[in-house]
Amino acid sequence: MSNQDKPFFVGYLDIPGSLRRFLVLACLVGTGIFVATGLLIGSTQDEPAASGFRFDYGRQTVTGVIELTPYPLLRVTQGNDLIKPGKTLMLSGQGKFGVDAQAMGLEGGLVEVTGIILQRGTIDMMQLAGGRRGMKMVDGDAPDMETEPLGRWKVAGEICDGKCLNGAMRPGRGLAHKACAALCLVGDVPPVFVSTQPIEGSDFMLITGPDGTRLPKAAYDHIGQFVSAEGDLERRGDMLVLKLDAETIEVIDG
C-alpha cells in the first residue's frame, strides 16, 4: 500500500510542493556526479611517453643503404643536421602500412628517402612520403654495412608495433592498444620489443622471426603483454635487431 503521508508524483501534473526541495537536491547531486566524474577522470589520464611525429623538423631527406631484416631498415650514409650518418631508421608508409613493396629488390642498394620522422628515445622511424618521392635509387656505390652479432639473449618486456610506439598514436602500446598494433603488424609495419631494462644501451629493438623471417603470427597473441622471449641479438648501426624465437615466449605474471 502506498504511504499517504508521502507526496505522490504524477508526471503530467505539477510536482507536489513537498517533493520539490527533494527533487532540486537530487538534480544537484546528479549534476554534481557528472561534473565531478568528468573532471576527475579527465584530469587524471596517464601521460603518454615522449614520442610522436616531428612535423616541427619538417620533411627530411637522407641517403643510405637499404637492409631487409626482412623489415626494411635504412643505414644512413649521407645525413643532415638532424639525422647523422651511422643512424639506422625504421621505415613505414602512410597509415598502417610498411614499405616492403618499395624496398623490394633494393637490398644493399643506395637509396634516397624523404619523409617525416617519428621519434621516441633512441629509436627513430621515418614515414615515407607517398609515391616515388618517398624512396628512390640514387647513383653511387653502396658501402658495406657491418652487422655485429651480440649472441643469444633472453629479454623481458612488450611486443609492439614500431609506428604507434614511436608516437603515431599516443598512447601507442599496452593491452588496450593490442588490436591496433596487430593491424599495424599485419600491414608490415616493423615490430618492436620494448625491454624492461636497457640492453646494450637501448630499451627498444626491432624484432623479426629467426633466419630472416617475419615475426611469427604466434607472437601476435602476446602483443601488449608482459612477456619474456629468447633470440639472437645483433646490432645494425645504432639499432638492435632481435631474431625472436616465438616458441620461447612466456607470459610473465604481474
Binding site: 500500500m1 502506498s2 499517504q4 508521502k6 505522490f8 508524483f9 504524477v10 508526471g11 503530467y12 501534473l13 510536482i15 517533493l19 527533494f22 527533487l23 538534480c27 546528479g30 549534476t31 556526479i33 557528472f34 561534473v35 566524474t37 568528468g38 573532471l39 576527475l40 577522470i41 579527465g42 584530469s43 587524471t44 589520464q45 596517464d46 601521460e47 603518454p48 611517453a49 615522449a50 614520442s51 610522436g52 602512410q94 597509415g95 598502417k96 608516437g167 598514436m169 599516443r170 598512447p171 599496452g174 593491452l175 588496450a176 592498444h177 593490442k178 588490436a179 591496433c180 596487430a182 593491424l183 599495424c184 599485419v186 600491414g187 597473441d221 602476446h222 602483443i223 603483454q225 607470459v251
Partner: protein
Amino acid sequence: MSVKYIPVQWNRNKWFYDLVMLIGVVAFLVLFLFVSPDLLSHEFPINPQVHNARAFGACAFVMLTVILCIGPLARIDTRFLPLLYNRRHFGVMTTFVAITHASYILNWYFSFSKSDKFSALLFANTSYTQLAGFPFEAFGIFALICLLILAATSHDFWLKFLTPPVWKSLHALIYVAYIAVVAHISLGILQDQQNHVFTLIFIGGALAVAVLHAYAAWLDWRGGDEVATQSEGWVEICGPADIKNGFARIKLMPNGDRVAVFNQDGKLSAISNACAHQNGPLGEGRVISCLVTCPWHGFQYDVTNGRSPAPFTEMVPTYNLRLTDGMIQVDPEANPPGTYVEPVAIPGWKEVPA
C-alpha cells in the same frame, strides 16, 4: 497516456528532466574534453581522437550507472520515482554517447589499414583463449548492440506491440549490457592505467549498482506483498478498515498475480495490480479525481471497471469481491479486462478527516 502514437508526449516535467540530464552530460564532456587537457598539461598530449573516445566512453559508463541506480532507489524511497518517469530519454541519450565513443575508436584504432574497419574490428585481435589481451572490444560491441535494441524499442508503440511482459523482459537486457560494459572496461583500459582514479570511480559505480539492487531486493523480500489466504474458493484480503480512502491493499494471489483492493469513498473495488502500460504497481498509486493513478507514469483507470477514461483505451482485469464476516474476500478468477464490477459498500463507513 495517449490515443495515438506520437514521438514524445512532452510535458513540463519531461522538458525539465531532459534539461537537467543534458546539463550533466554536457558538463561532463566539456570538463573532460576542454578543461582537463589544460590541467594535464602533458608535453606530448594524448591523441585528440583517443581523448575524445575516452571522454564519451567514460560518460556512457557514468550515465549507465546512474540509470541503473534509479530503479532500486525508487524502490527504496518512492521520492525517487520522478527520476524513473523519463528514464527512457536518459537511456536513448546514453546510446548516442556510446555510439560516439565507438565511432572514435573505429575511426582511429581500426582505420588506416588495408582492411575494412568493420572487418578489422572483428579480426584484429582473436586471442579469445586468454584473459590478458582478450579482445575486450567484443564486449563493447555486444553492449552497444544491446543499447541500440533498447533505444530502438523504447517507444510505447513497441511496448504495446510486444506486450508489457515481453517488453520488460527485453529491456532487462540493460543489465546484460552493463555487465558487458564492466567486462569491456576491466579487460581494456583498466589493464593499462597507471593512475587509478578512474579505476576507483569505476569500481565505486559498479558496486553502487550491485549494492542498491541487492538492498532493494532485500527490502522487497522482507516487506513484500502478503500472500492471500484462501477460504472456500475466495481469497481473504483484510478488514475494510485497513484500507484508507483513496488507497489500496495489495495481496499476492495463489496463481501468482497481484490484486489491488481500493477503497474509494467507502466503496471497495478490486483490480489487477499490474498497470497495462509497463506493469507498474497500481496498488502503490492512489485515487486522483476518482481514478486510480499509476505511480510510475500516471496511467489512470476507473476502479469499478478497470478502464482508462475515454478517449484512452487501456484496460486492466477486475475481480469480484465481497465482504464476509468483516473480511474482504476476492474471487481469484480475474474478470476480462474492462469488466464492470459493482463496488461493495463498507457498512457504516465514514471518512476520517485528514
